[in-house]
Amino acid sequence: MSQSLEITNLNVNIGDKRIIKDFNLTIPKGEVHAIMGPNGTGKSTLAKALAGHPDYEITSGEVLMDGESILDLEVDERSRAGLFLAFQYPMEIPGVTIANFIRAAKNARLPDGEDLNAPAYYKELYEKMDALKIDRKFTSRSVNEGFSGGEKKRCEILQMAMLEPKYAVLDETDSGLDIDALKIVSEGVNALRGGNLGALVITHYQRLLNYIIPDQVHVMYDGRIVKSGDKSLAEELERKGYDWIKEITETAA
């Protein structure tokens, strides 16, 4: 069985509008891939469609996670199967503490009737918070409520660390972050890198990729990948700007 997240000929509509067009990408486990592209090109649509958002209709194509199709799975089933989405705009859940939220998410992964061992859970939670330089007081705050941009993103990375997904999609994790927050979040992601995780980092700016060095960079334009390369592609793109992509795409067409 292939250990990868494999997206083949994927087409996604929002309403009647086709946003993702014959999209192909394979992320082997253990690798970090980056997708860059101008606004409105379908990057976030790709992320949400992979996670199974009901507003995004997959009209054709296939998504295999370690060889198994995930397209017939519900949103929560995809999550439990090992897919994690770090949101560009994480939602607030008033009254639900971070500790209880992550605990509920971990409990959902246990067989019926089994409950998480509370002391072991808190031990793990605190260890991972320490590693991500998150204040322990954070656990008693309601999820994302009144959080700064940086706190929200760190909370996403904490959840990712606790849920230990096989594949993670990080949707514009750098948006709204100052350089210090960006460093901390990147350190968190780098700490989770390794043979058990395949990651897709979606970003508009090259600067994130100074901290999270991708194995491959893909440039997305108008719903599909138009160019792929190593990390130098990101630098080239930064230098030449997205107009360069427009040019090469239109020339190719």
Binding site: V75, D76, S79, P90, I93, V96, N100, A105, A108
Partner: protein
């Protein structure tokens, strides 16, 4: 399964279920003087009670339905088809083995103790609580506390009973208090002597007796000077239930310096009209706190109140109402300030799911001649799914310049994006919804006794599971 299984109706989503029943005493359908005579004869009641009931019947018949302000759904109650008195239950022939596995599982999940399950399943007519009840009764009676069924109380302690009975909530208060006054049976009677602080909560569980439980309960609790008591009513299990009209009256009297806390967590099946009048009188320096959680029912109308009669008396209502598809929770609170420096606090949280509807009605009354009175009212509504409905009708009459009132209301929604976010972390849709709901009520339930907040959490989970298609 045996033949009983065929007589069984189960709503598999909610765990509600019922059997065919038969009773030794049955006043038949409909309500007239004959019904009352039947009840009095069966119960062996004194003439003054018979007269009290008959007067109440006249009041009931004379009063119109309160549909000029309340929902028209009340008109669907057909009083001529209701059974007003049933007792001497014969259904104990049922066997635990006949109870369907789904129901047993529900009990399991709710964590209902083994001996109570049999009662709740209708297997045992009398909940095998005699032992527990007599222990509690014995423990508290050392201090002179009276804790018994109101029927017994009426017979054994008329001197205390008569003094307060119908004084906090007069028969003519509203149509349903009149109905209750004419046909009441069941309910608790508690008297706590001066200075006695009852350390453990008294629970209705412990005194469920042969009388058909719950339908027209009449509860009277008196905490004498400086006494303290907590009473817990209700049952969080899915109800074995054939009655569709429940109309209770609960009267509390807190003498100077006394404290009464009354806790209700109710989970009604969705065909029930639950129309309840609850009120307390708080004398000088007394504190009365109502904690009221309503889940289920077709229509619940309930506005626990406190008449703050003595100086520095305090009243509190904390309520949670959950209206699921097809249900209407019309709840609220009444705070009647009738002395200087009285304070009141109302916190109400309602949740509407699907087409479930919740209504808050609050009344705060402070007349002009009073000084130094304070009220704080907060009502928060949570809507799940866009076609839910919530209304708030605060009626605040505050006169006088030295009184202080604060009212806050908020409406929030659980959005599809929030549910998506939670589902992306691995929670099912139902789990996501119940987590949101529990988060919404969290700051209130934290103040509840532990076991009740845990049960409430479980109930919300079950309710949310049922609401997801």
């Amino acid at each position: 399964m045996t033949a009983t299984a065929t007589q069984l109706e189960i709503d598999r989503d909610k765990g509600d279920f019922k059997y065919e029943e038969s009773h030794k005493y049955d006043a038949g359908v409909g309500l007239n003087e004959g019904t009352i005579d039947y009840i009095c004869d069966v119960k062996g009641e004194n003439d003054w009670i018979r007269d009290f009931r008959k007067r109440a019947l006249k009041v009931f018949e004379g009063k119109p339905m309160p549909t000029h302000w309340a929902t028209k759904d009340l008109e669907n109650i057909d009083f001529s088809k209701i059974r007003y008195y049933l007792s001497g239950d014969n259904r104990s022939k049922k066997n635990w083995d006949d109870v369907p596995d789904e129901v047993k599982e529900t009990f399991e999940r709710l964590g209902i103790p083994e001996n109570e399950r049999k009662f709740l399943a209708g297997v045992e007519a009398q909940f095998d609580s005699e032992a527990a009840y007599s222990n509690i009764k014995e423990a508290v009676s050392k201090d002179g506390v009276i804790f018994m069924g109101s029927t017994e109380g009426l017979m054994e302690h008329p001197e205390i009973f008569k003094k307060w009975f119908g004084k906090v909530i007069p028969t003519g208060d509203n149509k349903f208090s009149a109905l209750n006054s004419s046909v009441f049976s069941g309910g608790s009677f508690i008297y706590v002597p001066p200075g006695v602080k009852v350390s453990h909560p008294l629970q209705a569980y412990f005194r469920i007796n042969a009388e058909n439980f719950g339908q027209f309960e009449r509860t009277l609790i008196i905490a004498d000077e400086g006494a303290e008591v907590t009473y817990m009513e209700g049952c969080t299990a899915p109800k074995f239930d054939t009655a569709t009209l429940h109309s209770a009256v609960v009267e509390l009297v807190a003498m100077p310096g006394a404290k009464i806390e009354y806790i209700t967590v109710q989970n009604w099946s969705s065909n029930v009209f639950n129309l309840v009048t609850k009120r307390a009188i708080a004398h000088e320096d007394a504190v009365v706190k109502w904690i009221d959680c309503n889940i289920g029912s077709r229509l619940t109308m309930k506005y626990p109140g406190v008449v703050l009669k003595g100086r520095r008396a305090r009243g509190e209502v904390m309520s949670i109402a959950l209206a699921n598809e097809g249900q209407h929770q019309d709840t609220g609170a009444k705070m009647i300030h009738a002395a200087d420096e009285t304070t009141s606090n109302v916190i109400s949280k309602s949740i509407s799911v699907g087409k479930g509807r919740s209504t808050y009605r609050g009344q705060v009354h402070m007349p002009k001649h009073l000084k130094g009175c304070k009220n704080n009212t907060e009502c928060d509504a949570l809507l799940i799914n866009s076609d839910s409905r919530t209304d708030t009708y605060p009626a605040i009459t505050v006169r006088g310049e030295e009184n202080y009132v604060q009212h806050e209301a908020s409406v929030s929604k659980v959005s599809a994006e929030q549910i998506f976010y939670m589902q992306q972390r691995g929670l099912s849709e139902a789990e996501a919804m119940s987590l949101s709901v529990n988060g919404f009520v969290n700051d209130l339930t934290r103040q509840f006794p532990m076991e009740y907040s845990v049960e409430l959490k479980r109930l919300i989970e079950l309710e949310m599971e049922g609401s997801v298609g």
